[in-house]
């Protein structure tokens, strides 16, 4: 999972967590409100039973506690007690306009609804039927009747609707996250590519088209700057080449002219030698700047890494390697038959730089072994020397640092544009890896791993 996917995954999960928390808090609040409200609420049916208990018949006489009158007055309510025949045998604050006798049908009717406009509650007690009436329009009375099966169906339906709502909410949330992800992903990927110095071209449509356009412009400007810098380096190196050719040419001629004094020949030799260093520097500067800005188009072709190594090692042998150096080549099992897709000239340069590094840093001589191996889709080219090697700090920096450039300091302390840096850039351009480590008991080992294409 890449960082962009991880971000949206986390975003989705955290939104679900937030919604779940929201629902839980609501549930808790509803329950809390019900509990608190229930404590403070005066349930009408409780009042009717309590009031009814305060009215009793003792030896044919209705006895009423004084509390009843006070409660009824406070609530602007009234009450009456009906005997079994429907006649009012006791009343308190009962409106005058109401009848004092009721039929069974009338009792059945008002006990469920209203007595005229008064909402009433009834309570059966030994003396008869206690009726408590609240002021008109102070209460709404409803009477529900439902079949048991319907109650269950309603509960199940309510649960189903709730579940469907949750699922719908999750789906909408997922779809909305996906939409945002789809819109944001190219932008985030583009920013990541720009950070790696790669040019980007985002599609300029959709809701975030403006941001995409801005990023495209930023990338274009960066690319223009890089191109201008690389072109400038290329131009400078081009302008230096012709005068340097003249200097090298005449210096070489003077050096080889035996008619001249030997001092003059030696001095010309020094000019030639330093001119050659300058030439190498220009070539390195140009190559490294073009590799840095990915402006060196790789001229890739199938190449035998073993033959390429043979060519490089033979070059050193043919050019007369000093006696203190020994160099040999070893091809592992199956390595002779593999082909890799690479730029022959650049990979040659990489190997020359690695061998050249072993020679340059070991003036007292060493044994250099180049080996080529093939294991599981990877070609490994190892350059190993028995020289003085490098200390751990430099090795760590070489392995950790990005390719240092001519124009940017990476703070690694590795000289910019040196052979190893260029080798790293070349390996990186071929999507390979390069590792530097010590050789036992002393020396340096450089292992370059390059992919072997399955099909060429």
């Amino acid at each position: 999972m890449n960082p962009v996917q991880r971000f949206f995954h986390k975003y989705f999960i955290s939104t679900i967590a937030a919604l779940t928390l929201f629902l839980l808090i609501n549930l808790v609040l509803v329950v809390a409100i019900r509990v608190v409200a229930g404590r403070h609420a005066t349930a009408p049916d409780l009042s009717v039973s309590a009031l009814s208990a305060m009215v009793s018949e003792v030896n044919g006489v209705i006895e009423v506690e004084p509390e009843v009158s006070r409660v009824l007055a406070e609530n602007r309510a009234w009450a009456m007690l009906l005997d079994d025949g429907g006649a009012v045998i006791w009343e308190e604050q009962m409106p005058e306009d109401l009848p004092r006798s009721y039929t069974a049908a009338r009792i059945a009717q008002f006990s469920r609804w209203y007595l005229q406009e008064y909402p009433v509650f009834v309570w059966q007690q030994p003396a008869g039927l206690f009726v408590l009436a609240y002021p008109a329009n102070s209460l709404q009375r409803y009477n529900f009747a439902m079949e048991t099966g319907d109650v269950w169906a309603m509960v199940i339906t309510a649960f189903g609707v709730f579940l469907a709502s949750i699922l719908l909410m999750l789906f909408l949330l997922w779809r909305s996250t996906r939409r945002v992800e789809r819109a944001m992903k190219p932008i985030l990927t583009g920013i990541s590519a720009m950070a790696q110095g790669k040019p980007i071209q985002l599609e300029e449509h959709g809701e975030l088209a403006d941001i995409n356009a801005e990023l495209n412009r930023a990338s274009e400007q960066l690319h223009k700057k890089d191109t201008a810098r690389a072109d400038w380096i290329s131009g400078i190196s081009h302008d230096i080449r012709t005068p340097l050719s003249v200097m090298l040419g005449y210096a070489g001629e003077i050096e080889d002219n035996d008619a001249l004094p030997s001092d003059v020949q030696k001095q010309a030799g020094l000019i030639r030698k330093h001119g050659e260093k300058l030439r190498q520097l220009i070539l390195d500067l140009n190559l490294t700047s073009r590799l840095e800005y990915a402006m060196q188009p790789l001229q890739t072709a199938p190449v035998s890494p073993v033959e390429l190594s043979r060519q490089v090692v033979s070059g050193y042998v043919n050019d007369g390697l000093d006696g203190q150096y020994e160099i040999d080549l070893y091809a592992g099992d199956g390595a002779e038959t593999i082909l890799i897709e690479c730029d022959n000239a650049l990979l040659t340069r990489m190997l020359e730089n690695l061998i050249g590094n072993s020679i340059t840093h070991n003036p007292d001589g060493c044994h250099i072994c180049v080996s080529v191996e093939s294991t599981g889709g990877t070609c490994t080219i190892i350059v190993q020397d028995t020289g003085k090697g490098m200390d751990e700090v430099v090795l760590r920096k070489l392995n950790a640092a990005e390719c240092a450039s001519f124009t940017q300091s990476d703070g690694s302390g590795i000289p910019h544009g040196n052979g190893l840096n260029i080798a790293k850039q070349i390996v990186s351009a071929h999507r390979g890896t390069i590792r530097f480590f010590g050789t036992e008991p002393h020396g340096l080992t450089v292992a370059v791993k390059l992919p072997i294409p399955t099909k060429l």
């Binding site: 081009h238 040419g249 001119g275 140009n286 001229q299 043979r310 060519q311 033979s314 042998v317």
Partner: protein, 231 residues
């Protein structure tokens, strides 16, 4: 070889003078110089040089254009001098029919080596023999002469021997020899090459099991030691 007329074209007078000086000191007797494309075409038609060295970047007519013009009337070998050194430039020159290219700045030795190699390829000597420790190889007749008799070389043996002779004293890689024998697609030819080398040794060496002329460079290739330069 050194009496062949060589045309050098560059718009930079100092470089032109320096290159002329290099060739004259090396013994070349007919150096023609031109500082523009038009002047070069004029010299080409008048003096018919055996080879041309062209600078790529010149005002008015650049080296590629000049090469195209030259190729319309002549097949002389051409070496391109380029100050850019980028792969596209090299490829473009070779596609247009240049024989080789050299990137500036160059050393006098490099320039002479390239020109000599091109001239040898373009104008081979009529009586080319290679003198070895135990035999002489006649390249024109493709045969080995020894006290015991004359041994003809097969086509593949000849191609391999020629590659070794052109690089006498230097290690020639297995791949380069395979390529000389069977062309660009040579992978898998290594064992056959060993067989050809064995047959060559049987023809040119006194003791093929202990060769003194055709030596093995372990893991790299082979090296031909000659007594005299091919001539």
């Amino acid at each position: 070889m050194k009496d062949k007329p060589i045309l050098i074209v560059d718009d930079e007078p100092d470089l032109l003078a320096m290159v002329r000086s290099i060739f004259e000191r090396a013994g070349f007797t007919q150096i023609i110089t031109a500082s523009s494309g038009e002047a070069a075409l004029d010299e080409c038609s008048k003096k018919e040089p055996a080879m041309a060295i062209l600078d790529v970047m010149m005002p008015d007519m650049d080296g590629f254009e000049l090469l195209r013009e030259i190729r319309q009337t002549s097949e002389i070998p051409v070496l391109m001098l380029t100050a850019k050194g980028e792969a596209e430039d090299r490829c473009r020159g070779l596609e247009l029919g240049a024989d080789d290219y050299l990137v500036k700045p160059f050393l006098p030795k490099e320039l002479l080596l390239r020109v000599n190699a091109i001239l040898k390829r373009a104008y081979p000597d009529s009586n080319r023999t290679v003198i070895l420790a135990a035999s002489t190889v006649d390249l024109d007749r493709a045969e080995v002469r020894r006290d015991e008799g004359i041994f003809p070389l097969t086509g593949k043996e000849y191609a391999i021997f020629l590659k070794l002779a052109e690089n006498a004293g230097r290690v020639v890689t297995i791949g380069a020899l395979c390529q000389a024998a069977c062309g660009e697609i040579w992978m898998g030819y290594e064992n056959t090459l060993m067989s050809h080398i064995r047959h060559l040794r049987e023809k040119i060496e006194d003791t093929p099991s202990a060769p003194v002329s055709l030596l093995t460079a372990k893991g790299l290739g082979y090296k031909l030691m000659v007594k005299g330069e091919p001539h």
